[in-house]
């Protein structure tokens, strides 16, 4: 009661304060509350499901749409990274996995609203998941890896409950729902823009959003920039609060040197994908915050085509593995910025654990390499080509020169071949390259996933074209192995086979270097290797 008398005074004060804020220079205000994020590539679609969509589009969709669940985060060597093993609710308030692992039940938040104000219902969730597995879009192939293949698997129980049924207890079903593609779309809005030949409104959603995400698209200039406005009603963030930044500007700046200048001058707040040399000098100056996280779901390889002579001979592959100048390559290509995957010592010759990728027990040893070449019946060496794509030339070019020099010492003559990106992907797809370097990223980095996708089958990602029935069988079985110890054992077996067969050579996991203004906080390394704008805030 006592405070009643103060009310008029406080309201006058408040009104004055409001007036002051309103008339204060708005420029400074918006600048502090705006995140300007510059990146090399561009957002080319607002629906990440469209074939050909870029990483920037993936990141954008994380903020404009919600998913049922999201990855948690954890600390890795003092840096925040996404955590594959912690799945938290996003639109789902809670979820249950049945004891046999065949039923996932999601209960939606009662207060979740789409950006147009209508509530998020189980119907919308079903429509969105149906779209993901039915429409000819990218989500289809992704959800397949989690045994989600048909619309019959999604059932509406009541307006706030949805049930997902699995044919087998698949460990990757739940994490799959946290990836980019299964975003929840406002089905009424989308349906009103569908056409007879486009029942899933793919054309419309490419240029419009109908989500419940933390940010609303204000302007979208494909290839140039996207400006986002905060959705004030969104409360799925930490502590049930809206995202920190009022506006986010996602801008394409193709020249890496310019991106470095921008962040150093304070005109940009956050940059990823800088050149290693620029990051090093920015770090040395100490004015900015540099967060370098090894991309623990990405790997750079030297691949050999296991079906093509002479690389079909395991001793040739082993020879190469002992003839690569790992340390020099690591320094020349990445300035040592990353996590090496070479030079391990295995005390009893057995893998230390069942986690892939692992540090391989190989290092530069030319005598050993010569021995293996002799065992392969090629003591004089041979000639081959080493290919890389133009898009990666800043790291691959110095690497290729070192490979050529070092292999030359054991009689292997290497011709370096620099291919335009589209040509390189075509040749890889057609399995025509004998010896090359490439990288991969897995959104759901679990051991069986890596081995199934990158070491089996006749598809493009099987870079080494390895065809080993034993390996394929173990990887396939491990997928549905509920027992942790048995799974670990399968992983060890696979890793031991990898070290022995040496289908391709893992080199390293490059760092993701995020350079930001000192005031920016909360940056987290995400599975899509871009910035989730909801993570960051300003001090």
């Amino acid at each position: 009661m006592r405070f009643v008398s103060f009310r008029p005074a406080t309201s006058v004060l408040a009104a004055t304060a409001l007036l002051l804020i309103a008339t204060a220079p708005s420029q400074a205000q918006t600048r502090a509350e705006t995140l300007r994020y510059v990146t090399g590539s561009a957002v080319n679609t607002l629906d990440p499901n469209i074939p050909g969509s870029t990483r920037e589009s993936f990141a954008l969709s994380m903020s404009t749409y919600d998913r049922l669940v999201a990855f948690g985060r954890k600390q890795l060597n003092g840096k925040w990274v996404f955590d594959l093993d912690t799945i938290t609710g996003e639109l789902a308030e809670s979820y249950d996995v049945s004891p046999d692992g065949l039923k996932l039940t999601f209960r939606l938040r009662k207060d979740a609203k789409f950006q147009d104000g209508s509530p998020v219902t189980a119907e919308d969730v079903k429509w969105s998941l149906d779209r993901c597995v039915t429409a000819p879009i990218l989500g289809k192939a992704q959800l397949l890896t989690g045994s989600l293949t048909s619309a019959d698997q999604f059932k509406v129980i009541d307006p706030l409950t949805i049930e997902v049924t699995l044919p087998k207890p698949d460990k990757l079903a739940l994490p799959n729902l946290a990836t980019v593609y299964p975003m929840i779309i406002n089905s009424k809005v989308a349906k009103s823009h569908a056409a007879a030949d486009d029942p899933w409104a793919t054309a419309w959603l490419k240029e419009h959003t109908a989500g419940s995400g933390a940010y609303v698209v204000e302007t979208f200039k494909p290839g140039e920039q996207v400006i986002l406005k905060r959705d004030e009603a969104w409360n799925r963030g930490s502590a049930n609060k809206p995202a920190f930044f009022k506006r986010v500007i996602v801008q394409s700046v193709p020249e890496p040197a310019t991106r470095a200048n921008l962040v150093e001058r304070g005109d940009a707040d956050l940059v990823v994908d800088l050149q290693a040399s620029d990051v090093q000098s920015l770090e040395a100056k100490g004015k900015l915050k540099v967060v370098s996280t090894p991309q623990y779901n990405a790997i750079t390889y030297v691949s050999m085509n296991n079906q093509m002579p002479p690389f079909d001979n395991v001793n040739v592959r082993r020879a190469i593995a002992y003839a690569l100048p790992y340390d020099d390559m690591f320094k020349a290509a990445l300035f040592g910025r990353g996590a090496p995957l070479f030079g391990a010592t295995w005390p009893d010759g057995k893998p230390l654990n069942g986690i892939y990728p692992f540090q391989q027990p190989v290092k530069l040893d030319l005598d050993k390499a010569r021995e293996y070449l002799k065992a392969a019946g090629l003591p004089e060496g041979f000639s081959t080509t080493f290919s890389f794509n133009v898009g990666q030339s800043s790291t691959a070019e110095p690497m290729a020169a070192l490979v050529k020099e070092s292999l030359g010492k054991i009689g292997i003559k290497v011709d370096i071949q620099k291919l335009p990106d589209a040509q390189m992907s075509t040749q890889i797809n057609e399995k025509k390259l004998p010896f090359y370097t490439e990288g991969i990223v897995a959104w759901l980095p679990s051991t069986d996933y890596f081995y199934r996708n990158f070491y089996t089958g006749n598809q493009r990602w099987n870079y080494s074209s390895i065809n080993n029935p034993d390996l394929a069988a173990i990887a396939q079985e491990a997928r549905f192995e509920p027992d942790k110890a048995k799974y670990e054992e399968a992983g060890r077996k696979l890793n031991a086979m990898h070290a022995d067969l040496m289908p391709q050579i893992m080199l390293w996991q490059p760092n993701q270097d995020a350079v930001m203004a000192a005031s920016v906080e909360g940056y987290t390394y995400e599975f899509h290797r871009q910035v989730d704008y909801r993570d960051v805030s300003r001090k």
């Binding site: 420029q27 918006t30 600048r31 705006t34 300007r36 510059v38 561009a42 080319n44 679609t45 469209i50 074939p51 050909g52 969509s53 000819p136 990218l138 289809k140 192939a141 992704q142 397949l144 890896t145 490419k206 240029e207 200039k221 494909p222 290839g223 140039e224 920039q225 400006i227 500007i249 801008q251 394409s252 700046v253 193709p254 020249e255 040197a257 310019t258 200048n261 921008l262 150093e264 001058r265 005109d267 940009a268 133009v390 898009g391 335009p420 990106d421 589209a422 040509q423 390189m424 992907s425 075509t426 797809n429 990223v441 897995a442 959104w443 996708n453 598809q459 493009r460």
Partner: protein, 344 residues
Amino acid sequence: MTTGLRATLLRAGRRLLSSLPALFGVLVFTFLLMRVLPGDPAVFFASGPNAGKEEIEQIRKQMGLNRPVPEQLVFYLSDIGHGNLGRSMMTGQPVLKDLRERLPASLELTFTALLIALIAAVPLGVLAALRPGSIVDHGVRLFCALGVCVPTFVSGLLLIYVFYYLLGLAPDPTGRIDVFTSLPPQRTGFLSIDFLLAGDVEGWWAACKQLILPAVSMALFVIAPLARITRASMLVSLGSDFVRTARSVGLSWHKVVVTYALRNAILPVITIAGIVFSTMLGANVLVEKVFSWPGVASYALDALLSSDYAPVQGFVLLMASLFVLVNLVVDICYGIADPRVSIE
């Protein structure tokens, strides 16, 4: 005068008509060239973490690559006839829309650069020609050599380093306008004009500031040919009979140099300027990259690198048409500078 104008128009019309077969040839040639290039765009665009055979096939279908080449060509030509240049896989937009949005940016940059280059080159050339062999002549030669031997992306990065990074005088080198400035209603697509039409002087100045560095780095590169041509043709003109006559009858220095010598010497400069303009429009890709300028050249380069057929074909068609147009304008300028040219 009216007969002169009519003759010019007639000539222009005839020129346009006679360039149609050439344009058609360019169309077919680029189309075939893109198909002959190694690299399958469908594979490239299906590079997501899980893109398999099915995705590749789907993209191929979407791009119309599943049909035989002659059939593709027929479809392509009929599309062009309907004013449809196809869809870009990179931006996801129709190519026509992309080009329409980006062409003004490139044109504005190139026009400004050409203007700067001409303003600098013509006086330099004239000065050099008036005193051949002197210190001034050598100075001009040195300046031109420097300009032409430093590639545009080097001068661009240098200018950014000095004027943006070190001195902080220039705005940040990203795009046509500061991201925090609101755009004027689009009329011509040329920001410097649209801002003036909207009466927004502050915005106009912001757009101009953004334009200066890229335009200067492009201009530096083309000052040399323009100045050299000006000098050479000025020398010929100054040594000719009519200048000697003009001098001997005691006309003023100004009248002799500007009206008699320069007016006659300017013809080759116009020709070169026309050629320089067309090449600049395509060749400023590096400047566009360095300054994140949303122009057509960087767009075409990105498309080429990713084997995105439609934008590359659209770009080549656009360039060919522009080349025809520029030649026409050069012809008309000829007629104005030297009326004798119009007589056939």
